[in-house]
Subunit: 385 residues, 2 copies
Amino acid sequence: MTAAANQNGRRATASRRLERAGIRDVAAAAGVSITTVSDALNGKGRLPDETRSRVREVAERLGYRPSAAARTLRTGRSGLIGLTVTTYGEEPFTFTEFAYFAEMARAATSAALGRGYALVVLPASSRHDVWGNIALDGTVVIDPPDQDPLVTELYRSGVPVVSDGKPGNCPVTAWVDNDHEAAVLGILEHLSEAGARRIGLLTGTSTDTYTRLSTEAYLAWCDRVGQEPVYEAYPAHDPAAGAVAADRLLARPDRPDAVYGLFDPNGTDLLAAARRYGLRVPEDLLLVCCSESDVYANTEPPITTLSLKPRRIGTTVVNLLIDAIEGVDAGSGSVPGRLFPPRYRTAGTGPPPGTLMPTELIVRASSQRRSPRTTISPPRPPGEV
Amino acid sequence: MTAAANQNGRRATASRRLERAGIRDVAAAAGVSITTVSDALNGKGRLPDETRSRVREVAERLGYRPSAAARTLRTGRSGLIGLTVTTYGEEPFTFTEFAYFAEMARAATSAALGRGYALVVLPASSRHDVWGNIALDGTVVIDPPDQDPLVTELYRSGVPVVSDGKPGNCPVTAWVDNDHEAAVLGILEHLSEAGARRIGLLTGTSTDTYTRLSTEAYLAWCDRVGQEPVYEAYPAHDPAAGAVAADRLLARPDRPDAVYGLFDPNGTDLLAAARRYGLRVPEDLLLVCCSESDVYANTEPPITTLSLKPRRIGTTVVNLLIDAIEGVDAGSGSVPGRLFPPRYRTAGTGPPPGTLMPTELIVRASSQRRSPRTTISPPRPPGEV
DNA sequence: CTGCGTCGCAGATACGTTTCTCCATGACTG
DNA sequence: CAGTCATGGAGAAACGTATCTGCGACGCAG
């Protein structure tokens, strides 16, 4: 009795219900062994082209689709990458990072797909059973909080983790972040050159890297140039709180004559607040905010924005992760030219490799006094209308 | 020789490298069989609580995590749902649907997670090998084009498919869509009541359901009330083309005194175009556009928008899909009270079940000739789905 | 005619679960 | 005391693939 007949028999005996064709069925139909089918379809082994194409044809005819689960089990690779986003509240995405996140996720999806991987969106707050039930080859973590237990567990269980945002106190394989310090300093300098005398900051109360580094850079700058810090912090995940904070900032006795807002909605909120106080932008108030939205190109006046270039970040993060996945799995091997040799995973070699990416300041009318020429209008005392 | 020793021996013989603890290791450590471990951890079988908790404790101590791949292979369920978005160009998301898609995806992710599933983002244009490599329990398809081959193949291979957007000519398990006809008629009526004499439309050139139904409803209305249609169509996926089309529309000799724009950026584009032509909004031109963005609450003037309520759609779509997945798999069974009995999957029983969901018109200053004081702009309830 | 290398493929095993089947053991009933 | 039943658990068969090992046949040199 041939093996094919045997296996086919077992199949038929077990159940004669509708079943998707398996590799065994293809083997039987083509009159070859399972090995041959596998080799033919995956381009491995030593087979004459004739056999290869015949097997392929039979597989096609039978509508054979290899079982992803079986392949994953066998190879240990699922082709799945987790995209973890830290959550505030029960919604999976942070509201304030929304445009940033959307763009970044889009780029990450593209990049992953281009290398044969797919992305699974997994809020960090997900039920643990969901996390455990998915075979992930690696994970991208967006802005992990300090001591993120999730990241720690993932890393310990051997899953490569690359974070968007310099990680606080958890081990990651690699990380990517903007140069927030340089970005903030650039903006402050830009505003100063435009004539700002007292620059205020609209910042957040949370402790993520972005908020922290940006605020620190602002405070350091204030200290250096001798300006008293003027800032308001609010819970960035609360969409209503931003408008209130913007209002508070402009209502202060030491009202700033220029403001940088760290979050996307700050631009419109500040603009609305300025209107309420009868402040003209940019004459009485210079405005910059961090945003990926191009609505700020069409506001009245258009608002200068800082772009974190999320597409670039998303692409980089995914590529680093996949490099790590494929590099690590080549494992203790001596594959030359690997971008990410295994040593990156070993502990004790110091901090994980990080990449700083530049930001881009898109200068519009809101941060330029007069016509965007070279002349700088004389500074104006705050409060004057 | 006991089974445990045997299996342990095999394990140790095979390789003594670092390996994640498997169910066998737990069984050996707890001094029970594999069956018992599986039953204890999954809450099945007949076991005294003492054994159960002991096994759980051992598993915890060993850091045991069941292999998702093995479980998927065995049970046939991966807990993964595909989220497919039709693409124009190479970017995975359609630009014009962006805010809609983002909100919808967010809600879908939440809903799926709440029921123990995770979402995989899969552009329809993905490399076929990526599609084939993922074990999906079902798929959500956003606005499938007519005769979508992908959907057809998925459906044929037995994967439940639920579409957002009434499907053209491809078989799906179920679908959800807005009542676009009612929405457009409502807007036209609203504009008429505000005093519009000639209502124009800014529409798209693509053939997706949304564009088609909306345009048809507009044309039908024109026919009924005896107005000559005044519209401009442009490729909605091209962000630059919208502004040009808006300009064209207002430059026509038969310039409309009210415009409805089908796509998100139309509001700002129309506003800018109106400014260029010296038209005041709403005095000379009434404006409504379809958008999920709340920037239109703060434009000058605020613009009336039609919300498609993407959160509600996303939630509904996912729930329908999971109902189908779990209902189908209970299979030929006689499980009572199933929301989606298997009969929905059988062919020949007519069109698949569809659900129409209402839209919401958020009336703002741009579509009201008189003082907008009397009407109350509905505040967004924070917990709204 | 023997030994050897290559070609083309078949067998068997392992991946790590879930689950069906079945066997002890004791308790209880008649 | 024999039969029945519930209890607690063990064994083994899948799930569908990839891959390691090995084997017959064939060509060719010695």
